[in-house]
């Protein structure tokens, strides 16, 4: 089920979401071996950052809530990792975040020199005091950060959006106009909160956290559907996917590739191969190709 994406050939349309596992070359390589067409590193920021205290990730059964808090060694503090990654034989997305347009630009420019296949800018993380989210909810700041980053990198640019934006399709359009090569939607939903009634305290140390997993899938599908109507660039559809049928639904909403994060919890690291196989079986049973169903939900009669 090979697919073309921004000039690269991927073995299948499955994408590892940023923030899941992607801490080292070794583990990214294993995720690729376990059936993932495109793997994403954990978001890289401008300064070393530990993230939040635990509890940071809780499984609620129907999905997860997390406030890991963007831990990063810092972009200048990863030389060994880049050296390892130079020798990779799999396509790679490097995710980048910052606290200002200048920081995004500085980190992205540096990361671009390390030659990942793509750069994704995270303008949508709800889990830190100042990083990212503010850019993704406002059209002007989204435009500014995308156009600034686009100027200084020489690999294709993916922009990861938040469902917190009042009109996510408008943000996507602004990003496309500012030079984005693809959209990734969505980041976690919320923030939400879980309170332990015995201790009377929020369970997460950061108190609030982003929701992911099966419970957010309808929101993700709606966002991808809205974005597909407004942009011509490809969309990585992400949010609550853990089965082949979920992935087919994302493609019908308009996604070109399908990301998985929390699905690793529910079906193991080989969830990527499982979902790719299930998609393939579904397509075979229906005598259809991926291209034929992409955006199918937008046609009035479904055909």
């Amino acid at each position: 089920m090979t697919v073309q994406f921004l000039g690269k050939i991927l073995k299948n349309p499955m994408v590892l979401a940023s923030g899941i596992l992607g801490n080292s070359k070794d583990i990214l390589e294993r995720v690729h071996e376990q059936g993932c067409g495109l793997v994403t590193m954990k978001s890289i920021g401008p300064e070393p950052r530990d993230g939040h205290k635990n509890p940071t990730v809780i499984d609620l059964g129907h999905g997860m809530i997390n406030a890991v808090g963007l831990p990063t060694p810092g972009h200048l503090n990863m030389e060994n990792e880049w050296k390892e990654l130079e020798k990779r034989d799999f396509p790679l997305v490097a995710s980048v975040y910052g606290g200002s347009v200048k920081e995004y630009q500085m980190v992205a420019e540096y990361v671009s020199s390390k030659k990942p296949d793509f750069i994704e800018i995270n303008i949508s993380c709800p889990n830190s005091e100042q990083h990212g989210m503010i850019f993704g909810i406002n059209p002007q700041s989204s435009h500014d950060v995308v156009s600034a980053v686009k100027k200084v990198i020489d690999v294709p640019l993916i922009v990861k959006l938040t469902p917190q934006a009042p009109d996510i399709a408008r943000i996507a359009k602004v990003c496309e106009d500012a030079g984005a090569d693809a959209i990734c939607a969505i980041n976690t939903v919320g923030p939400g909160m879980v309170i332990d009634i015995e201790s009377r305290l929020p369970v997460l140390a950061f108190k609030k956290g982003g929701l992911s997993g099966p419970m957010i899938k309808p929101i993700a599908v709606r966002c991808v559907f809205d974005i597909y109507r407004t942009v011509a660039i490809p969309i990585i559809g992400l949010g609550g996917v853990s089965t082949g049928e979920d992935a087919i639904e994302m493609i019908m909403a308009g996604a070109s590739l399908v990301g998985i994060g929390s699905g690793v919890r529910y079906r193991g690291m080989d969830v990527f191969q499982k979902v790719a196989d299930e998609m393939e079986t579904w397509l075979l049973d229906h005598h259809l190709s991926l291209e034929q169903i992409k955006g199918a939900a937008h046609k009035e009669n479904g055909e």
Binding site: L21, N23, P48, I58, E198, A205, T243
Partner: protein, 270 residues
């Protein structure tokens, strides 16, 4: 698809506290925990932090964790007492692979005895248990088991003066045959135990420790080479260890930065 189960914290009150020595305290809880020796739980002290702990005592309706007072969390944990509230998630991880009828050796170093204790209780009296520590107060549960132990301390304050690896080598040299060796303790010690096992073609099971967040194989904080310690481990067998280049060499700090193990452990013990 696997059944999705809620993994929010189960809130429990400390039922009993036992001070093991000046270094260790054990907290008992009244709760039926389904558990295999070697697995761990995430323990949350509301308002403080959440850390992985092994189950050190286990029966049908009761379990315990044993804490060595080292860092901010553990120094708080040893002050907890009867009635205090903690949250637990888990158990997580794979646990030890136990084969009935085998002649085995258990090699424990310092607080590495805690995850091995429930395993030792399942073994018959033919098992060899080698137990070492820096000095006497670090010998955990000195009077606990029916099986006799070979003790050693670095300073000779309890048992033989020297290392657990000396005692394991000696047992093998005396002609004792082992079908399997289980070990937990400082990583450098486990690395030497593993190498002794390799030299003598004995399958070995090692319980590793890394900084953890989720406990269920998603966040990537505890990756060690291609393995995810919380999900694929914490117990790893010889086949995996042979290929694990980060074993006894590297670990990730909280930021995700990979560093030499000595730097990692000096950070963990702050």
């Amino acid at each position: 698809m696997n059944t999705i189960t809620d993994q929010k914290h189960i809130m429990l009150r400390v039922e009993e506290k036992k001070v093991e020595s000046e270094m260790f305290a054990t907290l008992f809880f009244q709760y039926a925990l389904s558990f295999v020796p070697g697995q761990f739980i995430m323990v949350w002290i509301p308002g403080i932090d959440e850390k992985p702990y092994t189950i050190s005592y286990h029966s049908q309706d009761r379990f315990a964790i044993t804490i060595e007072a080292k860092g901010i969390f553990s120094k708080k944990a040893v002050t907890l007492d009867k009635g205090d509230l903690v949250g637990i998630r888990g158990p997580f991880g794979n646990g030890f692979d136990i084969h009935s009828g085998e002649k085995v050796a258990v090699v424990a170093g310092g607080c590495g005895m805690a995850p091995l204790a429930t395993l030792v209780e399942q073994l018959d009296k033919t098992a060899t248990v080698i137990h070492g520590a820096r000095k006497k107060p670090y010998i955990l549960y000195p009077d606990r088991f029916d099986i006799e132990r070979d003790f050693c301390t670095d300073d000779g304050s309890f048992g033989h003066k020297g290392f657990v690896t000396d005692l394991l080598e000696k047992q093998i040299a005396l002609g004792n045959h082992f079908d399997r060796v289980y070990t937990c303790g400082p990583e450098i010690m486990m690395y030497h135990v593993f190498n002794i096992c390799e030299k003598h073609h004995i399958p070995c099971q090692v319980s590793l420790e890394r900084y953890m967040r989720c406990g269920f194989g998603v966040c990537g904080a505890c990756v060690c080479g291609k393995q995810v310690v919380c999900k694929d481990g914490p117990v790893f067998g010889s086949d995996t260890l042979r290929k694990m280049k980060d074993f006894n060499t590297k670990a990730l700090l909280k930021s995700g930065k990979a560093v030499d193990l000595s730097l990692y452990f000096s950070w963990r013990c702050q």
